[in-house]
């Protein structure tokens, strides 16, 4: 059985933690609301007003007026029509939204747009040079590292970032380094092959 005091303690910690990460004006958010008894009054919460956000994506700076709750992913997809970055879960659990922030891979669904200001963002749309695909994009085509294509931009952004990460040389290392990107179609073996092709070529080149 649960110790009631322990439960209360956890409840308090969670509520406090939430209150402290939410923007001002949200302090009265009821952390337990999804589990409130039916009919309990909804939490009173006044959403903050829109704010200006400047994003530099694929070398172009764009000024937007966004709801401060907007994620980088939704800013890209809904406000900038850069729909190459995909939403698979919105919870940081699938990797479909992977983009580069300052050259490192991040999950755009776990990054608020306001947090990405003043840092270069690269998305799948910014990877090719004109008509010339990035070698990783070409390798995904050559090795058939994709099926429905929905996870593909995230896979490729992860794979490109991996080239600059301390990932070991073996296939198993690549499998591990690419395991934050789920592919329900099951293109995994071909993805590993594509990544290894590019790594070998880069090492030789």
């Amino acid at each position: 059985m649960d110790d009631p005091n322990r439960r209360e303690f956890i409840g308090t910690v969670v509520t406090t933690a939430l209150a402290s990460v939410l923007a001002p004006g949200t302090a009265r958010a009821d952390a337990a609301s999804p589990h409130s008894p039916p009919g309990a009054p909804p939490p009173t919460l006044t959403p903050p007003p829109d704010i200006p956000v400047a994003l530099t994506v694929n070398g172009t700076t764009v000024r937007l007026t966004l709801d401060p709750r907007t994620t980088l992913l939704d800013a890209l997809r809904e406000s900038m029509h850069l729909t190459g970055s995909k939403k698979g879960c919105d919870h940081g659990q699938c990797g479909a939204c992977t983009v580069h922030l300052n050259g490192r891979r991040v999950l755009a669904c776990l990054t608020l747009a306001v947090m990405a200001q003043d840092q270069p963002v690269t998305t799948i749309e910014g990877l090719a040079r004109g008509d010339t695909l990035h070698p990783m994009q070409q390798a995904f085509i050559d090795r058939d590292g994709l099926q429905c294509g929905y996870c593909t931009p995230g896979q490729i952004m992860s794979a490109v970032a991996l080239l600059n990460e301390p990932c070991g040389p073996a296939d198993d290392d690549v499998r591990e380094c690419m395991s934050g990107n789920i592919c329900r179609c099951g293109a995994y073996p071909n993805i590993v092959a594509a990544v290894q092709d590019v790594r070998t070529a880069t090492a030789r080149g």
Binding site: P38, T44, P47, C94, I124, C148, P153, R175, N181
Partner: protein
């Protein structure tokens, strides 16, 4: 051309982010809809409180059963089993499962709609739900309608009791599997846009024409008023075969508000609202003589459905045709649970049924001290044992032998726990696989355009299956031009009608229509003494003819051959596992699928299809389990961190072999369809390998370490 390992023609669009999925169409003045879900599993809503949601910034409308636009026949006009689609359309206050849509909030922005949806409150008069499969089993009842409209729900041939009595060895075992949720990477989504009385739906679907008909019926409007567009679907696996509630809700709100509305399901909303593979409890009895000859087979399946619709997992169909056994009974039963209605999921029926059948065959082989492949060959069905018809083609014998040879089956040690490598017990196992080769009517239009390109159109779908690529190859092949000269268009109800992209239908059905249309265009050009081999000559031809595209259409239908032959794909799956001797964890270390699936149009994309299917099967075997709280019916692991689909690190080397097979009966191309069979047989092959490694027979999916560690045979 056909048979070449061509890279995907849509590869470039997909690797650059330019492929447009349905939620990604840029639409002016778009409003965002977010679904509100019930928080109880069974009961009636007594009151809604939508005040806070309505007054929340940016909110345009809040729809519940109190104020939703009334639909003809309370929204039941399009209900037609199987996969009936009795939807949740805010037409009444009944709640039938936890998480059922009970409202839709529409706002200017996605964030505003999401927030406001959290402010809607409902009061319920709630009842105790029936959630747990095991405790529901006593309520099982026979399923009576024909399965998928054409297969009898129960069969009997010969004399089962006599067959069992004549047996020297018998197996009597129960196999269970939990709900498996599809979880395509692209969540279900729809944009609905009305222009007067004309509705356009940008929908993530496997069946544009199906959506069109369904929506027209639901709204009581002419079919001609509905257009459905779906150029890319981000995975489907059966769950996008027919529209679910969100499609109708988007269209309903868009009509009422006179502005386009987009509804994208959250990942959590993909648990319960959009189907899943149901629970199965399968009872298998086998009897055999000492030499392995089967004397009796009984296969009874109980699967779960919702409280409001009958949907049956066609579990025993494969058992009816897999082995030459003259005494057999099969039957399907259902139990009703207070959960969302299940639906087709990759290899529907076969994936579950073959798990039980081929595990039981392995148990029988152990009992008879026979090699598992030997046992299967002893009972090899030279013709369809159920219908008595000849096979249109069957290379299963070669699948067994060539697969076994490549996999190194001869090195297998029959005695469990006899191979140890460091911390791991190593074992190998195999399974047969089968899936029907089906075909449906389909149409295509081939046009030589003024610019010299050949445009081929058919309202089929690209789900990752490579449709764009293989259809381009088929057309180019018939016309004798390079594939760069052909552009294939799909996913739009303005194009010729095609069947659902499911059940391995597309290559056979649409493929044939595309082939025939291209052949017809070729003949037409030949009759004009034209030449289209170069772009210049092709342009000239059109100009000579007056500048209008030269076109040919084909309407292709399956014929009498369907009744004269039994048409099925077959395969043999081999798996090697390593089971940690102290932790009981199972790691797949090698897998091979050997398939006789008709002519292969593109070995590169076909191989990917099979590997994808095997990985899907791996998830079903080792990790996937949709957990429900038995008290509340709440989905407990409705996200991708807790519902475990395979990730890259789970996947070892996977090998695929295709037998040289060109089916002379299925269609002019000789294909059988390959989308489903990859998932079939994986589960039994792995379960049998786990037995071979450890001596533990797991009959309950998924095969998790607790089921191995806790077993007496495992004690080290």
């Amino acid at each position: 051309m056909i048979g070449d390992p061509v890279s995907r023609v849509d590869g470039r669009l997909k690797v650059t982010g330019a492929a447009r999925y349905s939620a990604e169409w840029p639409i002016d003045n778009l409003a965002y809809g977010v679904i509100v879900q019930s928080t109880v599993a069974k009961g009636m809503i007594t009151a809604f409180d939508t005040e806070h949601a309505r007054s929340s910034p940016g909110v345009v409308a809040v729809y519940t059963a109190d104020n939703a636009p009334a639909l003809p026949d309370k929204g039941r006009a399009a209900m037609k089993p199987p996969a009936g689609r009795e939807l949740s359309l805010l037409q009444d206050r009944a709640v039938r499962y936890n998480g059922e849509p009970i409202g839709l909030v529409v706002a200017e922005k996605f964030e505003q709609a999401t927030h406001a949806a959290s402010l809607v409150r409902a009061q319920y008069e709630s009842h105790t739900p029936l959630i747990d499969m095991q405790s529901a089993l006593p309520s099982a009842y026979p399923y009576k309608p024909n399965i998928n409209g054409s297969f009898p729900p129960a069969t009997q041939r010969g004399d089962l009791a006599a067959g069992l009595a004549a047996a020297d060895a018998r197996i009597d075992a129960t196999f269970t599997a939990p709900i498996e949720t599809h979880n395509s990477m692209e969540p279900h989504n729809t944009i609905a846009q009305w222009d007067g009385d004309q509705l356009t739906l940008y929908d993530s679907t496997q069946f544009v024409y199906g959506v069109k008909r369904f929506i027209a019926k639901i709204f009581g409007i002419p079919e001609a008023n509905v257009r459905v567009i779906s150029h890319f679907t981000g995975g489907a696996f059966g769950s996008k075969g027919a529209p679910w509630s969100h499609v109708v809700l988007a269209a309903m709100a868009a009509r009422a508000l006179n502005r386009p509305v987009k509804v994208v399901l959250t990942r959590k909303q993909m648990f319960g609202l959009v189907g899943a593979r149901p629970h199965t409890v399968q009872h298998l009895k086998l009897g055999a003589r000492k030499d392995g000859t089967l004397t009796a087979m009984e296969h009874r399946s109980i699967s779960s459905t919702s409280s409001f619709e009958e949907w049956v997992e066609p579990v025993t169909l494969a058992t009816r045709l897999m082995y030459a056994c003259s005494n057999q009974q099969t039957a399907h039963e259902l139990v009703r649970l207070d959960v969302g209605t299940p639906t087709f999921n990759r290899g529907p029926g076969e994936s579950s049924g073959i798990f039980a059948l081929e595990s039981a065959m392995d148990e029988l082989a152990v009992k008879l001290a026979m090699d598992p492949i030997e046992l299967r060959l002893r009972n090899y069905a030279e013709r369809d044992p159920e219908s008595g018809l000849e096979w249109s083609s069957k290379s299963l014998r070669q699948c067994y032998s060539l697969g076994a040879e490549r996999f190194g089956w001869s090195r297998r040690r029959a005695e469990p726990r006899s191979v140890r490598d460091g911390d791991a017990f190593v074992g190998i196992g195999m399974s047969s696989a089968t899936y029907p080769a089906r075909r449906a009517p389909a149409s295509a239009l081939a046009r030589l355009m003024p610019d010299g390109m050949i445009v081929v159109q058919a309202a089929t779908h690209e789900l990752g299956t490579g449709t764009y690529t293989i259809m381009t190859q088929i057309a180019a092949d018939a016309l004798g031009v390079p594939i760069e000269r052909v552009r294939f268009e799909l996913g739009d109800t303005r194009l010729p009608e095609n069947p659902i992209s499911a059940g391995s239908l597309t290559a056979q059905s649409t493929g044939t229509a595309v082939h025939l249309a291209a052949v017809a265009l070729h003949d037409k050009i030949a009759a004009m003494r034209g030449d289209v081999t170069t772009i210049v000559s092709a342009r000239d031809l059109v100009t000579r003819g007056g500048g209008q595209p030269i076109e040919a259409r084909a309407d292709a239908k399956p014929g009498d051959e369907q009744k004269a032959f039994s048409m099925h794909s077959f395969g043999a799956i081999f798996a090697e596992v390593r089971v940690d001797a102290s932790l009981g964890t199972v790691k797949l270390s090698r897998m091979l699928g050997a398939y006789g699936v008709g002519r292969i149009l593109n070995p590169k994309t076909a191989r990917s299809q099979m590997i994808g299917g095997m990985i899907y099967g791996l998830g079903m075997t080792l990790t996937e389990d949709t957990l429900l709280d038995a008290r509340t019916g709440r989905y407990l692991n409705a996200d991708l961190a807790e519902y475990l689909v395979p990730v890259n690190a789970d996947i070892p080397e996977i090998d695929v072999m295709f037998m040289d097979e060109r089916d002379p009966q299925t269609n002019p191309l000789g294909t059988k369809g390959i989308g489903e069979i990859g998932c079939v047989g994986v589960t039994a092959a792995i379960a049998n390998a786990v037995y071979n490694a450890t001596g533990v027979r797991v009959r309950d999916l998924p095969i998790t370490l607790d089921k191995i560690l806790g077993h007496t045979s495992f004690a080290d």
